[in-house]
């Protein structure tokens, strides 16, 4: 894990494994998916591929991103188990080099972060939280979702 993509989700800067990111795109109009879990904001298309858009803010239960017509959102495109996802974030900040391996975070984090964190990692900009992409896509647990 050499390069990290630094993104901002719900005001916090976190890192994604840059090797897993295929590209960074700008999302505009989405087609919503009725009855799907709330953190799946909808579908978008990248050339002939359909992207499932994950509202990261919602996946972490930090609020909701509004995908109104005309608004542009940045998103990181990843592939998990043969499916393509666009992780919608507040903004894509930078690409930095990791210094060392991720370490467990011993301080208390919010429930959403706790679920997706795979550790803390040192960078030239200081420590930053590394987020597990698959768990981010999985979103809040079944029970939470039913309650929401």
């Amino acid at each position: 894990m050499d390069l990290l993509l630094i993104v901002s989700i719900g005001g916090s800067r976190v890192a994604l494994d840059a090797a897993a990111i295929e590209s960074v795109i700008e999302l505009d109009a989405l087609s919503p998916v009725p009855r799907a879990p709330a953190h799946l904001a909808g579908l978008s298309a990248l050339r002939s591929r359909v992207l499932t858009v994950v509202d990261c803010k919602r996946a972490l239960e930090l609020g909701e991103t509004r995908f109104d017509a005309g608004e542009i959102h940045e998103a990181a495109v990843v592939e998990v188990d043969g499916h393509h996802y666009a992780l919608s974030v507040d903004s894509v900040v930078d690409v930095v080099e990791a210094r060392g391996e991720p370490q467990p975070v011993r301080a208390a984090m919010g429930a959403g972060w706790e679920r997706v964190a795979s550790g803390m990692i040192e960078t030239e900009e200081g420590p930053i939280l590394l987020v597990d992409i698959a768990r981010l896509i999985a979103g809040p647990q079944q029970g939470d979702r039913a309650a929401a």
């Binding site: 109009a29 009725p34 009855r35 799907a36 978008s44 050339r47 359909v50 499916h83």
Partner: protein, 789 residues
């Protein structure tokens, strides 16, 4: 050099693959010269190539096998089980080495002398593989295919390249669609249009052929089976013969890969748990050799793969016991389960009837994985089994994953696609042949007399739509294996061929969607799973389908009570009738009711039904029309007049039987208040019997000199059960019914019977009937019969 080795590996692999079946067939019939030749050719080729590449171990092995086989070919030696096993051993070793070479590793040092010695004629036979088949029949049945397949003129292509071409073509189709849209907006230019049409045609053709390149004969999947079955049955000390059919069916390459594991698993199960040991089989009066039949065939846009064995079958009772023990179903549910539903438990996670865990199967993972794998690609697995006679598993998979003809529809702003294969018809909700009704909150659409459950797509999806129910379009759907229902959508757009891809797991988990696709303008569209829509929409599918899902929807199974229609009778009584007995509900003008001979009848279109729910026509006074249940017992119908429907309820209280016999079975609490239960059986026994019974011994007098009466009327009168006599004859005096034309009725004597006057014009007075008023005629014929009875 690298290239040459790669070619050698690829060639050898291909030959090995196609050889798999040949070897086993040769074993069953060692004298089959054609198969012997193809095996010989293989070792010969390997030997030749090895000399060139310097693989001494490979060379020694193939050389030894070639020598032994050459002896057989020359007649110097008879093939036997020992020789076959030895040759198989060598071919396996060659296969292993080829894999090593392919990885680029150096061939390890090793001793092959044991294998080579086993080839010699006087080698000690240890652990004979499979005993040679005893009968000629058996040997012939094992044969797969009639002749060794000749190599087709082909080239090898990497799958990745093929996929890239495919996705390129998909992009091209999208670009074409975009261009088409732009062209429609631009001022018309015939030359540009023409060129575009041509381009469009070429792209469509290209997409077709690129799709076909992805198709493969299912044989590729089947060739490995004989060998697998042979090895497995040897390992388990069983004798199994495999019969393969339908290898020429073509299937999407990806699909073949997707069904490889499920198919293998089912076959392993069949041999391990299905087919008994030879001793057990003899005891059960079966042939020692178990039969395993694998066949593929195309049915519509599905491929059906059957795997049938003649083993001991599935112990449904044991399955149920285990399911209860593991808490999967409760006792009461289990008691109500059909045989098919019990068998379907085999697909539940953690249920395996194997008494002992074996190395082959029975690890408790298995059939549930098989089902989920098959369902993931839009397929189905069905199981049927008779205890002691065998098991049949059927895999139903779609022909291709990729291109599905579909109808696009929309709700509000958003578009969706519905697979065309599930669509029966499309009707407008406000069309003359369609009525929409709400019965206890549930939608019922009556389309040309057929009642189907109706659900609004907007409600299922929870989307806003300001369109009124009547303005919507109804799509009548029949999901695979289910019953019809009508889906109300806001608008329908177009029939399209869509390139469908599976959606993300979380989207699929909603149960509503079968995949995603891109519309003409490049925006994503979801393709519906029509069975899933029905389920989420609360439509009850066919019994069979529901039962198959019993284990999954425990809650749904528990409320599977008798459904009752609660209504108010004409006299104001609260009554209930079983919903199942009600065919449909109609609004009938009161003048359609008639009373003759103490019986009430109602005329509905061309039909005349016995009417009940009222004691006499007096009860209808003051009304213009009255509502009517058409009750049906499957053959005959009864009209039951009532005031209004109150609700649909489930019967959850005891019925207190009524005293004596009558239209009411008893009283029960329905929705907290007592209601009388209509006894449909009693009604049919009393009313329907006389309508279907032909009146006998009735005589009708017709004027024989009237050609119209003789040719047109007489068949109807006879069909109604009358004997026809000439009005001029003496027998006419005793006729029960006398038919005359209205114009001359007065001039002739009438006799004792009822006089029925027919007039030639539609307009006329009430004491005659227009002669083409068929329903009126029938009514008259029956009322005379009813009066006489």
């Amino acid at each position: 050099m690298e290239d040459l080795i790669a070619d050698f590996v690829a060639e050898s692999r291909e030959m090995l693959e196609s050889l798999g079946g040949e070897i086993v067939a040769w074993e069953a019939e060692p004298h089959d010269r054609a198969r012997l030749d193809s095996i010989f050719r293989f070792v010969h080729t390997v030997k030749g190539n090895c000399g060139f590449f310097d693989f001494p171990r490979l060379e020694a092995l193939s050389h030894a096998a070639e020598d032994a086989l050459a002896d057989v070919r020359a007649g110097r030696r008879q093939p036997d089980a020992a020789l076959v096993s030895a040759v198989l051993g060598i071919i396996d070793r060659i296969g292993e080495m080829i894999e090593i070479i392919d990885r680029g590793d150096p061939l390890p040092e090793g001793d092959d002398s044991a294998l080579i010695n086993a080839l010699s004629a006087d080698a000690i036979i240890e652990a004979v593989a499979a005993p040679a088949p005893e009968t000629e029949d058996a040997a012939r049945a094992t044969t797969i295919g009639s002749s060794p397949t000749a190599a087709p003129r082909t080239i090898r292509l990497s799958v990745e390249l093929l996929d890239r071409v495919m996705s390129g073509v998909s992009d091209m189709v999208l670009a074409r669609n975009e261009l088409a849209r732009r062209l429609r907006e631009a001022p018309e230019d015939v030359a540009v249009q023409g060129a575009f049409e041509r381009l469009s045609g070429i792209i469509a053709e290209m997409r077709d052929s690129i799709t076909r390149t992805r198709m493969q004969r299912i044989e590729n999947l089947f060739v490995a089976l004989p060998r697998m079955v042979r090895d497995l049955s040897n390992e388990l000390g069983k004798q199994v013969m495999i019969d393969i059919d339908g290898g020429d069916v073509e299937l999407d390459r990806e699909m073949i890969e997707m069904i490889r594991d499920p198919l293998t698993h089912i076959i392993r199960n069949a041999i391990d748990h299905g087919i008994e040991s030879p001793a057990e089989r003899l005891k059960a009066g079966k042939r020692e050799i178990g039969m395993l039949a694998v066949s593929a065939r195309q049915s519509g846009n599905q491929i059906l793969i059957d795997i049938a064995d003649d083993g001991k079958g599935i112990d449904a009772a044991r399955l149920v016991d285990k399911a209860i023990a593991s808490g999967l179903v409760d006792k009461t549910t289990a008691e109500e389960m059909s045989h098919a539903a019990k068998l379907a438990l085999i697909f539940e996670a953690g249920l395996s009837t194997a008494r002992a865990v074996t190395s082959v199967s029975g690890r408790g993972v298995g059939m549930d994985v098989v089902r989920s794998n098959v369902e993931r690609i839009g397929g189905l697995v069905e199981v049927d089994s008779k205890r002691g006679e065998g098991t049949r598993m059927t895999l139903r998979v779609p022909l291709t994953l990729t291109i599905i003809p579909a109808l696009t529809v929309s709700i509000g702003e958003q578009s969706f696609a519905i697979p065309r294969s599930a669509i029966e018809e499309i009707v407008r909700a406000n069309g003359s042949s369609v009525t929409l009704e709400k019965v206890g909150g549930a939608g019922i659409a009556t389309i040309r007399g057929r009642r189907v459950p109706e659900v609004a797509l907007a409600d299922i999806l929870g989307l806003d739509s300001d369109m009124a129910d009547e303005d919507r379009t109804l799509i009548v759907l029949r999901p695979a294996g289910g019953d019809v229902y009508a889906l109300a959508v806001d608008r329908i757009h177009d029939h399209e061929e869509l390139v469908v891809k599976p959606a993300a797991p979380a989207v699929m988990a909603t149960g509503l969607y079968a995949g995603t696709t891109l519309a003409d303008d490049g925006s994503p569209i979801l393709l519906f799973d029509t069975a899933g829509l029905a389920q989420v929409g609360g439509v009850k599918l066919e019994k069979q389908e529901r039962a198959a899902r019993v284990a999954e929807d425990k809650a749904a199974a528990n409320d599977d009570l008798v459904e009752l229609l609660l209504f108010r009778g004409l006299g104001g009584q609260r009554r209930v009738v079983r919903l199942g007995a009600v065919d449909r509900i109609e609004d009938v003008p009161v003048d359609r009711f008639t009373e003759a001979g103490g019986r009430l009848r109602v005329q509905l279109g061309e039909d005349i039904l016995p009417a009940t729910g009222l004691d006499s026509l007096v009860e209808l006074e003051g009304r213009e029309s009255v509502r009517l249940f058409r009750l049906s017992d499957g053959e005959t119908e009864i009209g039951y007049a009532f005031d209004q429907v109150i609700d649909i309820k489930a019967l959850d209280h005891e019925v207190i039987p009524a005293e004596g016999q009558g239209a009411i079975t008893g009283v029960s609490l329905v929705g907290e208040e007592p209601a009388e239960m209509v006894d449909a059986h009693w009604l049919f026994a009393r009313l329907a019997a006389d309508s279907s019974q032909q009146p006998s011994g009735l005589v009708c007098a017709l004027p024989a000199d009237d050609a119209w009466m003789r040719n047109m009327l007489r068949p109807i009168v006879e069909a109604a059960g009358y004997a026809v006599v000439d009005a001029a004859s003496e027998a006419a005096a005793g006729a029960d019914l006398v038919i005359r034309s209205a114009e001359e009725a007065d001039s002739a004597p009438t006799g004792a019977g009822t006089l029925l006057k027919l007039r030639k014009s539609p307009e006329g007075d009430d004491d005659s009937i227009y002669r083409y008023d068929r329903a009126g005629l029938l009514m008259a014929l029956r009322s005379v019969a009813g009066g006489t009875n």
